[in-house]
């Protein structure tokens, strides 16, 4: 077994027993990245120098007996997190040369444990996309099948973990951007409850929906990563002051009596046969493990995508107003006056999908349309959230597909924004409701593409979905399969 095949938990064990050093682990990963990144393009920036220095510091800490759970472990992060002294592009030309003056709180927390940050991962520009094809730094390829997309917007994060270019990664999820790529690449991804993880220092897309979360190779590693970043942060007034439980301690494998709900609106026309079969098999596995399976209804599911594309774009149009070529970012030099400078800089700096969403959001917020679009969507959001709260009166966890199909082909949906948006139909409602959910491997299609299972939990009950996911993982082998790269 090579170093980069080891999980976080296995690496921790070997580092603690001095069978490996953090410097050796980091070196092995940097070689792995150099060998595989030309094919995958999952990294925008590889931080070889700083990673080497961080690994030496981790080895000194381990020698001194000052070891935290992530000390010396090789992590990569989506290029949406501010990382002091490193470039943070958010997948955009407009931030192509931006050097962060500070660390995001999530980054500060893993650095405080002396984790090693290997690099910054590719993503759809400003986290807007479902295929990673909207990156100004080129598309990422799916390590299972290079002609397919890895999903998005955390496509680089999912591809990197699947291809063992890092032991785990951090991503963000606004409408499915952790879970959908995790499903397409056969890794474990978790979107925590809104407020569970600080958003401070994370480049904003849609502030009422954005949430930070981990992507990992198995459920235990996912729990370890969530533990590191979860918790209240005074710098993010929307983070919630609720203590995070010990997530690893909750991984017992015993889920007898767990009530699992199947929302009937999620098993509809348009759901791929292979995906349906894999999710049905997963349901049978849960029944065998002693869970009670109950059919439930989330009646407003069909409205979620429409609701999301008004709320998310409205928030985006407001958030992205800050890119004006004055304080940081690209500035167009040919402009005649100040307003023209704003307009030229933004036109040159933003890609097609970002412009489309700014336009749609500005329209939805503009005078005369606010009530008809934005306010209407916020009211529908209330109904969608209430659907989940009602369902959670009857069950502990919901079980659904992550995406209606396995990974689609590069180029297949780039010219049809609405079709692209609909690939997030099963993940978007969770962000609108603000609750937590995860994606875990549950099978493969007839043409050998990964399929993901979604577990949705009650607000702030990440422990329940992690526990349910762990029991499934113990009973199956899907998470052990690796792409041939």
């Amino acid at each position: 077994m090579t170093i980069y095949d080891l999980t976080l938990a296995e690496l921790r064990d070997r580092l603690d027993r001095r069978e490996l050093s953090a410097a050796e682990v980091t070196g092995a990963y940097l070689e792995r990245i150099a060998a595989t990144n030309p094919q995958l393009n999952s990294f925008i920036t590889v931080c070889a120098e700083t990673a080497t220095v961080e690994a030496e510091a981790a080895d000194r800490a381990i020698a001194a007996g000052e070891t935290a759970p992530l000390t010396g472990l090789p992590i990569a992060v989506k290029d949406i997190f501010n990382t002091a002294g490193l470039r943070t592009t958010c997948g955009s030309r407009i931030l192509g040369n931006y050097i962060s003056p500070y660390d995001a709180t999530a980054i500060g927390r893993i650095k405080a444990q002396k984790a090693v940050i290997l690099g910054k991962l590719n993503m759809d520009e400003f986290a807007m996309g479902s295929s990673n094809e909207n990156s100004a730094f080129g598309a990422v390829r799916n390590p299972w099948e290079l002609s397919r997309v890895p999903g998005g917007s955390s496509g680089g994060s999912a591809a990197c973990v699947a291809a063992r270019q890092a032991a785990a990664a951090l991503g963000t999820d606004t409408g499915g951007s952790i879970r959908q790529p995790a499903a397409y690449c056969s890794v474990v991804g978790l979107k925590p409850t809104y407020g569970r993880v600080s958003r401070y220092g994370v480049v904003a897309y849609a502030s009422s929906l954005d949430q930070v979360g981990p992507l990992a190779r198995d459920v235990r590693d996912c729990a370890l990563m969530l533990q590191a970043v979860a918790g209240y942060d005074p710098a993010d007034s929307t983070s919630v002051d609720t203590a995070a439980p010990d997530y690893q301690a909750g991984l017992t494998g015993n889920i007898k009596g767990l009530r699992i709900g199947l929302p009937r609106e999620y098993f509809i026309d348009g759901l791929d046969d292979d995906v349906r079969r894999a999710v049905e098999q997963a349901t049978a596995t849960y029944r065998d493990l002693g869970a009670e399976i109950v059919e439930v209804s989330l009646p407003h599911t069909a409205y979620a995508v429409a609701c999301y594309y008004l709320i998310a774009t409205a928030e985006a149009s407001s958030n992205l107003a800050r890119y004006d070529g004055v304080r940081y970012g690209l500035r167009a030099e040919q402009a005649e006056n100040l307003i023209d400078m704003y307009m030229q800089s933004r036109a040159a700096g933003f890609g097609t999908e970002v412009k489309r969403r700014i336009m749609l959001g500005t329209y939805a917020l503009s005078s005369g349309y606010y009530d008809a679009y934005y306010l209407k969507a916020q009211k529908v959001r209330t109904l969608i959230r209430q659907d989940f709260l009602d369902a959670f009166e009857k069950v502990d966890v919901l079980l659904t597909p992550v995406a209606p199909t396995p990974a689609f082909a590069l180029g297949e949906k780039v010219n049809d924004p609405l079709q692209m948006y609909l690939s997030d139909i099963y993940t978007i409602p969770v962000n609108l409701a603000g609750t937590c959910a995860m994606s875990l491997p549950c099978g493969f299609s007839a043409d050998s593409l990964p399929i993901g299972l979604q577990l949705i939990g009650k607000p702030f009950d990440e422990a329940a979905i992690l526990s349910a996911a762990y029991a499934f993982e113990q009973a199956t082998e899907w998470h052990k399969r690796q792409p041939e790269i």
Partner: protein, 95 residues
């Protein structure tokens, strides 16, 4: 038509985006299709429903009014396209 090309052009000015003629053309069709799709929300009766601006119920978050270290002028200006002394420099706003 949900939206005309003239409205798209107006929204591009509100958005501070200098769009090409080709972009305005394609956006008119795309925005029209998306607005047609979101029209389905109008089939829901939302009379008396309180809008959700935030998924987690919370009150205003207050903090103590304390002086804490912030960016140095060098850090704040470090990514600026153009600076003068300790300021961001832009074209003359008022002639």
């Amino acid at each position: 038509m949900k939206i005309t090309r003239a409205e798209v052009e107006h929204v591009s000015r509100l958005s501070r985006l200098a769009l090409s003629e080709a972009e305005l053309d394609s956006l008119t069709g795309e925005m029209d299709a998306i607005l047609d799709y979101v029209e389905q929300l109008n089939s829901l009766d939302t009379e008396g429903i309180v809008p959700t601006a935030h998924a987690v119920p919370m009150e205003n978050a207050f903090r103590a009014d304390e002086v804490k270290p912030g960016f140095t002028p060098e850090q704040a200006l470090g990514n600026a396209p153009d600076t003068a002394e300790s300021a961001f420099r832009v074209r003359r706003v008022i002639e």
